[in-house]
């Protein structure tokens, strides 16, 4: 029994020392290498260290303790290396070594951008959404009824000249003419009509959208632009409320100390009507600045409310409308509206 056990023991010790170089030196830089290494030594079926442990009884009792300690040491080494290699792999993907040149530029991601009109429109709608306004949209091709008549523009009235209109079909037809909407106000009528089908005010809505004007194109006017319209109808709504919400709006867009004024004006669908100016500081101007018109507004005309079946004695409301381009141009200091529609990348990238 001595000699076979002796030779078995010698073989086991020899096997262990053969493994030493690989245990300490194997390259463990990939998940596959780590996995193979673990299987090679520790797997229950194929692991070489597992196998050597099973051979401990074969070793002579005198040598058994030393042999066992040697195997355990090898096992700890394997486990430590596995732990380190796994950690290193998960830390930097593949290697803990620094790249050769840390100063080489990174791989770029292309830069995109939102158009300044979108940015200004979002800014405007956000203010009113925070005050509980819904958002509605409507068609750009409108009928005369929604664009003019329902908004209290009488037929053959000079108020119709206030907005130069692109016509699509003449007024002789049944529907009273089809045109490109000149303002977002027709959506007021659509919203009111919709609500009144099966409900009552309160109505609190803003309407962003594209509108068209048949005007010569210049640095200050384009054949189309974008508006945001606002409408609030409820019991007890007053001009004072209108002033308050628009002041809140102006503070958000133009700063806490914005100076604004309301001056009487005329729109057929509101009465009383006002235009709102803000004071624009400009040291180059005499007086240190000037008043800049930012929007039109007023109390919804009773004719508009009654036209859609709302009791104008019970309910009052206000409406306002502003040009998004105008607000964008003021905020960003753009002096020519046409550049907004040219979409030169050198312009757009300034709004990334």
């Amino acid at each position: 029994m001595d000699s076979p056990s002796k030779s078995a023991a010698e073989a086991a010790v020899q096997a262990l020392s053969d493994l030493k170089a690989d245990i300490e030196g194997a390259v463990l830089d990939t998940a596959e290498a780590i996995d193979a290494y673990r299987i090679r030594y520790l797997s229950r079926k194929q692991g070489q260290i597992t196998a050597l442990m099973k051979r401990i009884p074969d070793v002579a009792p005198a040598d058994r303790k030393a042999f066992g300690q040697a195997i355990n040491a090898a096992k700890s080494t394997v486990e430590e290396r596995l732990e380190q290699a796994t950690a290193a792999l998960s830390a930097d993907g593949s290697s803990s070594a620094a790249p050769a040149d840390l100063t080489l530029p990174g791989r770029t991601q292309p830069q995109g951008s939102l158009h300044p009109i979108t940015q200004a429109a979002r800014l405007i709608t956000r203010v009113f959404e925070n005050y509980g306004f819904d958002v509605a949209e409507g068609p750009e091709i409108e009928d005369d009824w929604h664009n003019f008549t329902a908004l209290n523009f009488p037929p053959d009235h000079p108020a119709r000249d206030m907005q130069d209109t692109f016509f699509i079909e003449d007024a002789e037809k049944d529907h009273g003419g089809i045109l490109l909407r000149t303002h977002t106000s027709p959506v007021q009528i659509r919203v009111l009509e919709e609500v009144m089908k099966d409900g009552e005010p309160p109505i609190r809505v803003i309407v962003p959208g594209r509108v068209y004007r048949n005007e010569a194109i210049s640095y200050k006017s384009y054949c189309l632009f974008h508006q945001v319209e606002g409408l609030h109808v409820d019991e007890g709504v007053t001009m004072a409320d209108l002033k308050q919400i628009l002041h809140a709006f102006a503070r958000t867009l133009f700063g806490e100390d914005v100076k604004m004024r309301f001056r009487p004006s005329f729109f057929p669908f509101t009465e009383p009507s006002a235009e709102v100016d803000i004071w624009w500081h400009d040291e180059n101007l005499p007086g240190g600045g000037r008043w800049m018109e930012i929007l039109g507004c007023g109390m919804v005309d009773p004719n508009v409310l009654e036209g859609v079946g709302i009791d104008s004695e019970k309910y009052t409301g206000y409406a306002f409308g502003m040009g998004v381009e105008r607000i964008a141009m003021l905020r960003y200091g753009i002096d020519d509206i046409r550049i907004l529609y040219e979409n030169d990348v050198r312009f757009l990238e300034q709004f990334s």
């Binding site: 991601q109 995109g112 509980g132 091709i141 001009m239």
Partner: protein
Amino acid sequence: MIISTNWLSDYIAHGLSDDALADRLTMCGLEVESVERTGNDLNGVVVGHVVSTGQHPNADRLSVCKVDVGGEEPLHIVCGAPNVATGQKVAVATIGTTLHLPSRDNPEERVPVTMKKAKIRGEESHGMICAEDELGLGSDHDGILVLSEEAVVGTPFPDYLSAKGISTSDTAIDIAITPNRPDAISHLGIARDVSALTGKEVCRPAVSIPETGDLVSEEFSVSIEAEDLCHRFVGILVKGVEIKESPAWMKQRLLTIGLRPRNVIVDITNYVMYECGQPLHAYDADSLSGNSIIVRKAKAGSSFTTLDSKERTMPEDALMICDAEREIGIAGIMGGENTEVTDETSNVFIEAAWFDPSSIRRTAKALSLQTDASYRFERGVDAEGQAWAAKRAADLMVELANATLVEGMIDVHPVPYEAPIISLRAQRAVDIIGTPIASDEMGRLLEAIGFGTTETQTDPAVWDVTVPSFRPDVEREIDLIEEVARLFGYDNIPEPTHSRIPNFTPGMATDRQLRERLRDVLAGIGFRETYTNSMLPVETAARFNDPALPGGRFGGEVVETLNPITTEMAALRPSLLPGLLRVAGHNHNHGQQAVRLFEFGRVHTKRQTNRTLVGDYTETETLMVLASGRWQEQYWEDDARDSDLFDVKGVMDRVFGAIGLEMPRYKQRDASDLASWGVDILLGKRWIGSLMRVSDDVADAYSLRHDGLVAELDFTALAEAAAAAIRPTFQAISRFPIVERDIAVVVPSTQPAGPMLEAIRRAAGDLLKKVFVFDFYEGKHVGEGNKSLAFGLRLGADRTLRDKDVDKVMSRVLKALEREFDAKLRG
């Protein structure tokens, strides 16, 4: 409308500076657009006496004058005017005086010139003898202005002028009159508001209105056939007028407000219109046939020559002024050439009438002829202002044109004015305005602008308000409330300190939410948002009205406007493509190699569909994505690469994924004029849009320098599909492992991968979580005409899959590929 502050001060001593006046007007609803000082102050211009004149030794056309201006010695002045003569009293601009002289290049423009001692052709000249235009007093430059004999030598010229009621400088205030203020289109109308603002009285020129009838009605008769369109017609006759230039003060005022003086008669009618707002017409009385005037409707299609010598075709129902034989004027718009005042005129018939605003507006529109008169009539002139205006003009003709007034007045007045009385509830005004204004204060404010008020009830207060004849716009209580608010001052309405928000929950429309999300996603992956013009030439619109694109897919016609600005913008876009191609071309031409753009916008087509809201039109929103040129820039370890189909497909995956949709399917289309190749983008069976490479013809037309890869999606369809995905529902996460298997097959090169992926999905069934192509190979290892495709499959279930489950799936997949595509497992 421009007003002259000098003129205004004839009627009201408001005591405000020009700027303060402009500010007060703006804040009461008469928006001042500009304030412009006109004229010269003429300091340094003095009255001189021409002591002697002599021929300039070196110039035939020049004279050398000695002019006494009250100094020790007469001034030596070289003068080029033909009319200079010894003994004249003249205006002399002395050395140091600055005049605003008409520019040589543009006589309308004035440039400041300061007088200096000068040598003109060798003769010294110490100043200038001035012509009318050089002094800003008129347009005459034919000779020097010769003053009246009694002018005192040495008197400052401004003093001389003001003694004659002429001011040397003036201020022109341009006011944007809103359509609801017909009362404010005149100096007296503005004065009325200034009076209400300042509390100062308005002083109207004294006019004694003659009795109706008398001598004039023996000479002339007026009859109104269209009484509904002409409520009143007043006529006054003056005889023996002297047709000449108007006096300087009148010409100066007309020039300040932008009117060109003509002759004293025409100028007076304009002057009175701008004074009180009532348009007048002056006829050469001797040219009126039968000494009668008839107001009636035109025969449709009849032609008439207006006093601007243009022959015009009358629209139906146009109101005409006629004499016994013929038409002599288009009522309220323009008189006729056949009866206009000429240099030979000696007797003038003055017309002042009230015409129906709508009728005037329709006719003016139909004729495309807006005049100062039609502008006022279509807004509504003072229903009671005709007699005053006619007599005022007659008085001025007597005073300034040596006319003789024929006693009496014709006043045909079939529809007398009845002043409306409107109830105003003080509480209602407070409820609208939002601040307590005392009832008495309301009465006072309304009285100040000419309304009559009677308190009919005190608690709560109710006023009966009588509307003055010059405010036809005021018809309802709300109109009165506006007047109260306007005069109270909007800036005096205090803002509440708290905000009342109704108990009302705003929703966020799905399409808006999706649109905003996609904007952020696209900007986040390097696309730039554009806004392009919706209007384009008809031919361009037709070219892009293509069935491959969402707009053209409706099969409708291009939408055209009836009155485009130019043919370049005569139609509405059926697609965002032309707009974006134009932007891409522009940017390529400006050195951009990488152009990646997107736009959301409405496209239009004429066809009734289930999306139609108005008429026969379908308006739908699309999203377009365009990539042309560099996709990847040159990098130190990678080469630059241009955009291709698979980049844009990747963007589509991103778009669909970002709004919770499954990946779209693609189906190849035939090439077309627009596209060298293209695919339909489908979601299940639903058509969502198309992706294409624009044809070389199109690319050339838009100067693209790289392939143009574009996708246009029907955003409405996309949003509908995504609506359900807006609020995702939770799916339990499987705690069982995923099994990954690969399969590589060889198929003919012509076999597309898409159907194979679908076959794998069908064959693998529920266990398949994902399938993807991870390798594509063509080459000698798979034989000529073949390719190899390798698919990765991820399988999973709510249990641990056993090898035999997985093997079964893989064998089904292989069988399907073999059967459907003649695929061979790659060894």
